[in-house]
Amino acid sequence: MLSLLRSLGRLVLLGACLAIASQLQAQLSTSSLQGFALPNGYLSPQGDSVLRPVPLRKLSVNGYYRFFGYGRNMTTPYPNLSPFEKTAGVGDGYREPMLSLFVSGRPNSKSSFATELFFFTPYAGNFEDNVFTMNLGLNFYGNFRTRLGKFGVRAGGIHWYAMSPMTMGILQIADRYSIFDRTPWEGVDGTDKYENYYNTGAINQDLRWNNRAFQGLIVEGGSLPGNMSFAFLYGKAQNNGGLQQAQTDPLATIIQPGIAGNIPTYNGFSGINRSLPSSFTGFRLKKNFGKNFISYNTVYNRNRLDSIKDVFQTYAVHTLEYNFNAAGINISGEAGAGNFTIPGQDTRWGETALLKIQIPQKYTYLPFEFQFYQISKNFYNDNGEVQTFSNPEIQNASTGPNQVGQASVAGALVQVGQFVHNRRGINLNTEKSFGPLKLNLGWGISQEIDTLSSELSYVHRVNGLALSRVYNPFPAGATGPTVVGPYNRVFTFFRGAYELVRLTDVDPGTIAPLTRKHFQALDLQAKFKTNLFNRPLYLFYLGSWMGASSTLKPLPGFGEDVYLQAQYHEIDLYYELFPNFILTGYWGVEYIKGGRDTEWDLTTQQPRNQFGRGLALGFDWTVSENAAFYIRQRFMKFEDASFPLDRYQGNETTIELKVFF
């Protein structure tokens, strides 16, 4: 019966189809192909219910191509460099794009997006090592205006952001650095770079230069009632980012690969950090009074240490930042407190106070800037301007004695204006011009608040960049800092290297320091410009003299109470030989002398006595408005008269072609 009915059903269906077919047949004689006028939207992007058919009409696109090649010959290398004494390659070892394509769009007046595509090829003769990805990430922006004020939202990241020196920011040391070596993010601007440096100390730098990397959500409000503004951040700062053990291939996250309809789930891309959620939160409330302002700033950083138990390591900073101008005198600074919590220990609070007074030339013969500061050992913030590596208790609990890429440890010898916690001190800056000669002087002394450091550190300024290119501080899968040299006391970081000095006047049982450290710093910079054969010639000198001692001293020096002194003398020379062709030269020496109470060499029975030299020549050749070649040839030599194994010598040639569009 059923089969009969099914057959009947089939027959009827067949009948229906035949009827349709016969109708079709009947029609075809009189029918014609129906012409399609292009329907609206037919050729608009597919999925219009989701993506708006009205396309983006403007796209902001710019970027640069940067070829960076190098050849190196370390004639006297540190041990274990073999077989890489002689090498040549492409790329400076850091993650820098060869082609950076910055793409941004503003779909409407309230929203925009931006990203930076990253392309790199080592020109190794194959495709496998080529890289096509994003450089820093994806940024989204939204803004809106209400009766209350203007509001902005930044989502995604990396956002380069700063709030205040003590909460979120990076120190800007006036202009006391050599500009001979180019940074990857520098522009193509001929002599303007040197002219600007001569005039203002500022050179064309990338946004990231004076901000901290942040991912997440930033909400800002401005023009609020009562001249108020605010900023709120929630997300991750660099220190609590990271994706350990993460899946990296989207195709590997597809369930049932090979069957249409299954797309990447991205499951596992977060790695174990997903279950160790760490975050960074910030808030700033600012009140403006004309040119003056006062603001409350706070950050809270939480690192989760255990995926199951509620075990956290946190730090928080609360400050008031102020800036007042009266009768030409500027008084600014920041004061507050921070705390740090280590599992199993009570939360510890520490104060921070910074006062800056700028007195114009009209009151004194010279313009002066005084800086008074006191920063507790318990003030910790690895996203602020203050170097907070000096408290071993915090350092060991947070990152270990030394983390990858860290720029110093313990009691660091720093330039004038660089703040370090567990110190109180005073800085003085002044400047004077004598015709084309511009001088500026910085002087600072400080002392430890608590006797903490049994170690000191100082930077190898002259050849540090070249050394960090030989020994990459961020090798793939790095789990610790890159340690260099026969005595395992030199550490490389991003574009630099520093050295650790162990003190000997310590408690032999606990290795605890016995004496409080005092630090001195003197920076002298001279900038001179003249015309030679009607072409500009720039001559820059930068000298730094830094020291640490067991007694309070106005200047670094010699003597039994001196732990360490470091001198740096650098001269930059730039001369426009032909239009758009600039000869460049660099000569630098550094002299580091260890004191009696620092480690001695076992054979010579002498403390450090280091002398480093760097001599470099090259040229900048601007071949068109946006394109230039930069050639640098550096000869470097370093030796320690007391530690005979601590020596290296070599030379490095770098070729950079940069094209902006």
């Binding site: 037919y42 992007p45 080529n130 994806l138 997440g216 049932q256 090979g258 309809g261």
Partner: protein, 581 residues
């Protein structure tokens, strides 16, 4: 993999060329008229915490998860001339927490070309969204919301976008299609013909033959009395590719009709229906699987125009052996593990998929075709777990839609009474009763204010019954409540809140299906006394109609009377910034 790399390289080069070729080294690039760039930008940061009874003893599960993503889909659409179009979506993605290059990926999400030949034939090659009828090729929705609260839609829209769900039943496929029309004469004013051929699986030359889906339709239109359409779709394995012994064939042919019975200023009466048959069989010679069956559906639609009242009364009959891969493949695959808290408790048992997971977890969804009926959860829907094409159902349905003239209130009601045609494990038949009411109350229109103040409500009750001796009896009652409020506190700044609650009490037998739709066994009586509640509150700012920022808190509670120790709670906070352009 290599192919993907090369494709990426090609697209990226294309992007650069497009950009450089038009940028004239200037920051602001005027995009040429024949180049369309659209896309999506998204920032998602979410924090999920596990709590509740099970956490008191659970020493093996992470209590707190935090992840997120930032992604940009750049849709580059080029129309070199008015009859040709090429489109690709390039996805740039960065995992939250990945700094300076880690966690970044670049993918090709879509690529197709389409156009018009001779002003007559439309063609489309590559990725495409296809839909025929609910019984041939159609992707029915998950049916897990009844007028869902606005606050829950942000996550649902994210899943819909990721899975290419366009809300109209289309299914994302890859292949080619063509359609054209004939303007005819006396009887049929228009004859529309379309056909497609897609590949849904490539062979591994070992165990899986290449699988294709092809089909087409012929629509005969008459301006006065409606249209009748013949539809055909066939899912089949190309056994000759790779030399396989066995493959499947699943042809489905139907005839659908839309007949205008009456249409005047006061009312319109239409008849809509579809009927047809399916076959499913294997090509192997030993013990081949071979089944066929028929279905039919017819409904009268009455539109009382002055009253804004639409009433639909219909009948549906889908045979027990009716099998249509293109129509019965669920978009939710409950067999997949969750991407968060997939296993909880010290015994690491799998956590049952919940209404929270279905709103949160994109990995549970797919648009893949399945040659075996995917498992379903009777708590979520027992009457039609596979949509209208659910086999072994016969019954009537009634839909009523009503709206006040000013749309201050919009009401909807749906009722369905279905019964099995063939018993499962017994000659006794299950009966299914489904009742659903929805309502949107636009309070601001009552109050005469511009800012949105809207309450939406939805309630669904479903009952499954079967008689017989004790072993055979089944009684399962499930109810789903959706309620929400949207209050525009300031211009474009909304306060959102909502609740979704699923209650399910009773028992049923869930068949274990093998080979297409063959019931192999009933693992055991499925006894439930479950309560799942999801509440949420948050804010949303609408920068524009295509750009929003949501900051939401959600709490989900799951309790099962049959397993009280495993009751758990999930708290979630997420930030979602969406930019469509």
């Amino acid at each position: 993999m290599l192919r993907t790399k090369l494709l990426l390289r090609a697209i990226c080069c294309g992007l650069i060329l497009i950009v450089l070729g038009t940028s004239e080294l200037s920051a602001q690039t005027e995009i040429p008229k024949n180049l369309h760039i659209n896309g999506l930008g998204r920032t998602l940061i979410q924090r999920t915490q596990l709590g509740g009874t099970i956490s008191e003893t659970d020493t093996t599960t992470a209590s707190d998860l935090m992840d997120g993503e930032f992604l940009l889909d750049l849709k580059i659409n080029a129309t070199p001339n008015e009859k040709t179009e090429v489109q690709s979506i390039l996805r740039l993605r960065n995992e939250f927490g990945g700094f300076f290059g880690s966690g970044m990926s670049v993918e090709v999400r879509e690529l197709f070309a389409r156009g018009i030949v001779g002003n007559s034939f439309r063609y489309h090659v590559g990725d495409m969204d296809l839909k025929m009828t609910p019984y041939t090729l159609f992707q029915h929705d998950a049916g897990l919301n009844v007028n869902e609260a606005e606050i829950f839609r942000a996550r649902q829209e994210l899943i819909d976008y990721e899975q290419f769900y366009n809300g109209d039943g289309t299914r994302r496929m890859q292949g080619g299609k063509i359609d054209f029309g004939l303007s005819a004469g006396a009887i049929f004013s228009e004859i529309n013909i379309s056909g497609f051929f897609t590949r849904v699986r490539g062979t591994d030359f070992f165990s899986l033959p290449t699988r294709f889906v092809s089909g087409g339709s012929i629509e005969l239109k008459n301006d006065r009395w409606g249209s009748i359409t013949g539809n055909y779709v066939n899912t089949f394995d190309a056994v000759s590719i790779g030399g396989f012994d066995n493959g499947i064939r699943n042809p489905v042919q139907t005839v659908s009709a839309n007949i205008h019975i009456l249409d005047n200023d006061n009312m319109a009466l239409d008849f809509e229906g579809e009927m047809g048959m399916s076959s499913i069989f294997e090509t192997q010679e030993t013990e081949p699987f071979d089944k066929d069956d028929t279905f039919a559906e017819g409904a009268f639609k009455l539109d009382l125009k002055p009253r804004n009242l639409q009433i639909t009364l219909g009948f549906r009959d889908v045979g027990p052996d009716f099998f249509s891969i293109g129509a019965q493949s669920n978009r939710v695959d409950l067999d997949r593990s969750r991407t968060f808290y997939s296993r909880i408790g010290n015994d690491r048992t799998t956590r049952q998929a919940s209404i929270f997971d279905l709103n949160r977890d994109r990995a549970l969804y797919t648009y893949a075709l399945s040659d075996v009926l995917r498992p379903y959860d009777p708590r979520f829907g027992n009457t039609q777990p596979y949509g209208r094409a659910t086999a072994n159902r016969r019954g009537v349905f009634l839909n009523v839609d009503y709206a006040l003239a000013d749309s201050a209130i919009e009401l909807g009601a749906e009722a369905m009474q279905m019964q099995e045609i063939r018993g499962q494990g017994t000659t006794e038949l299950k009966s299914f009763t489904l009742a659903r009411v929805t309502g949107d109350i636009n309070i601001n229109r009552w109050l005469g204010i511009d800012n949105i103040l809207k309450v939406n409500l939805g309630y669904q009750f479903e009952q499954t019954q079967r008689g017989g001796v004790e072993i055979e009896t089944v009684s399962l009652n499930s109810s789903l409540l959706d309620a929400g409020i949207q209050a525009e506190l300031f211009d474009n700044f909304d306060l959102l809140a909502g609740i979704k609650q699923l209650t399910s009490v009773g028992d049923d037998y869930i068949p274990e299906v093998i080979r297409f739709n063959e019931v192999r066994d009933f693992p055991g009586r499925y006894i439930v006394d479950d309560n799942e509640t999801m509440i949420a509150a948050g804010f949303r700012y609408r920068f524009s109609s295509m750009s929003t920022l949501n900051i939401q808190w959600e709490r989900f509670n799951s309790s099962r009377a049959t397993d009280a120790e495993r009751a758990y709670q999930i708290d979630q906070i997420f930030i979602l910034y969406s930019l469509y352009f």
